[in-house]
Amino acid sequence: MPSGQDIAALLPFLLLVLGALVLMLSEVFLRSGGRGYQSGLTIAFAAAAALAVPFAPQQVLFGGQAVSDGFAGFVTMVVCAGLALSALLGRGWLETRNMERGEYYALALFGASGMVLLGMATDLLLAFIAIEVMSLAVYSLAAYPRRGQRPPEAAFKYFILGSFASAILLYGSALYYGATGSTLLSAMRGGGGALLAAGLSLILVGLAFKVAAVPFHAWTPDVYEGAPTPATAFMAAGVKAAAFAFLTRGVLAMVAGTPFAVGNELGGVLGLLAVLTMVVGNLFALPQRNVKRMLAYSSIAQAGYLLVGVIAASRPESRAQGTSAVLVYLAAYAVTVIGAFSVLAVMEKREPTPDAGSADAWDVSRFAGLASRRPWLAFAMAIFMLSLAGVPPTAGFVAKLSVFQAAAGAKAWGLVVVGVLTSIMGVYYYLRVVVAMYMQPAEMEEPAAAPPTVAIAIAVAALLVVVVGFSPEPLTAWARAALLRM
């Protein structure tokens, strides 16, 4: 029977669901056209959910399908921060296009609640439901604007491919259940054999789709480009964090439980995924002149570095180091990518139909000469680009360093070498934006002023990136303390 402790541990999830219900009702009781408070409410619920995390009792919940531990708490914090920042961004972006509605924020809150639940899940059944809550919300957010061809196309592609990935995940879960007699991750202990291996590999395929690992990445560029920019920012930060949290949990349970030589086999499969993801993601990002598409390929590449962290976590000698490296990376990436998309949201074309022959809506030439016109905006974008590239002193550098240190601790030298080389490759395309802003003459018309809430989001994100870059100790110490209970 559920106790008060169970409910208290689920409080962040419940608060986010409550927030979504409140936001939906706010649209019903709307008296004037003023909707400015909606983003404020969203941020308040995100903050409340984050504040509930330290009070959550550290325990296994209900029938053992979820666990409330430091790891889940950290993921909850990252998701809530991503939700709050993208709500700030959404406020400015939607208002200037006259499409701000309560449903947008309600769906974002629902999506965040799914992500939080996925971060806590230790059971394939619950994880599937959490993934679907998260994904359905994100599909609808991608289709949210009714302007032009791109958003519906992006949402439809995401929906169809995502449903296939979910079906594969379910099939894998069914085989897993057949092999172990339970859907709990801990049931792998004592199981074994080809049936379990087949189930686990199908589950891995489903999760690899959600984190956009090569070769399951094909949806990413189109969806990231077509979705409205605030939704893309939320998707990049939140979906990745939640999916990687469950992937890490699953891989650790697999290593802890299976009798067959899973260390080598699993390391091989994950290593191949990581190398492919790092190389292909960075290679495809190289020729992109469209900054939004470039950021999409960059998010694929970042998934590769995160996979390196997961592999380090799967080895006993670097277990703690790898787990905390994944968390640090997720936090740093979430803040950086939302900042980068916020600047992009200010710079993008604001025509009523953003699709009509406007592949250049996000062209890098729009950034030309930005430094002389909007020095602070250009400075913030430069910070985000350097952070994504992993140049010190930024949060991205701290994250890459901790992942590669963990991989070195696991003696996975090949992965470290590939990671460092592809990071250097990445510097080229990130710096192209910086070069355009600082060294090229302005071509385009004066960019519109950033709405105040977007300016706040950019400032907060830039500040966090720089502060973590200069003094990473609080973040890394927190990640190290975020223990993972099986």
């Binding site: 029977m1 029938g63 449903e103 059944l125 919300a137 609808s140 085989l175 054999g193 080809a194 049936l195």
Partner: protein, 168 residues
């Protein structure tokens, strides 16, 4: 009921199940595909009965074959796609890759099942599969996934309404 009689019954349900599932994929007319799906649901319900999951079998017939498929058919008929809109089926290179992948998957699963060998089914109590037993397990052991499903349904409704809006 003897083991051999059960095996015979299993095949009586299983072969048409596979045939109608294949029909769903192969049918060019969406209405035929939907009807094949209805028949697949019925045969599947028979297999549930063989596993003494009576409630599940009833739910399968009432909810899936009844309610959901009627909705499916409504949508398909409202769209009333013509042959021209459906287009000609072409087997492109990508589809062949898909066929090879699916065949590989089949070989993998069958060989995995063959390797794990025959296993006796777990003995279950007399009330297994009854409304009472399913209800009890749903509200105790599976309470959290059960409640999370209600959030999932709500998200699906809100998402569908948002996506179906003409204009925002």
């Amino acid at each position: 009921m003897g083991a051999s009689a059960e095996t015979v019954l299993f095949w009586i349900f299983a072969v048409p199940l596979i045939a109608s599932a294949a029909g769903v994929v192969a049918a060019r007319n969406p209405v035929h595909a939907a009807m094949s799906l209805v028949s697949a649901f019925f045969w599947l319900a028979g297999i549930y009965v063989l596993l003494t999951a009576h409630l599940l079998a009833f739910v399968q017939v009432i909810v899936y074959a009844g309610a959901i498929m009627v909705l499916f058919l409504f949508v398909v008929m409202l769209l009333s796609l013509t042959d021209a809109e459906l287009g000609l089926e072409k087997l492109s290179a990508l589809k062949w890759v898909g066929v090879v992948g699916a065949a590989g998957m089949l070989v993998l699963v069958v060989s995995a099942l063959a390797q794990s060998g025959p296993r006796a089914m777990r003995a279950v109590g007399a009330d297994f599969g009854t409304v009472r037993a399913v209800g009890r397990i749903l509200f105790t052991q599976y309470l959290l996934p059960f409640e999370a499903t209600s959030v999932l349904l709500l998200v699906a409704i809100v998402g569908a309404v948002v996506v179906a809006k003409e204009k925002i």
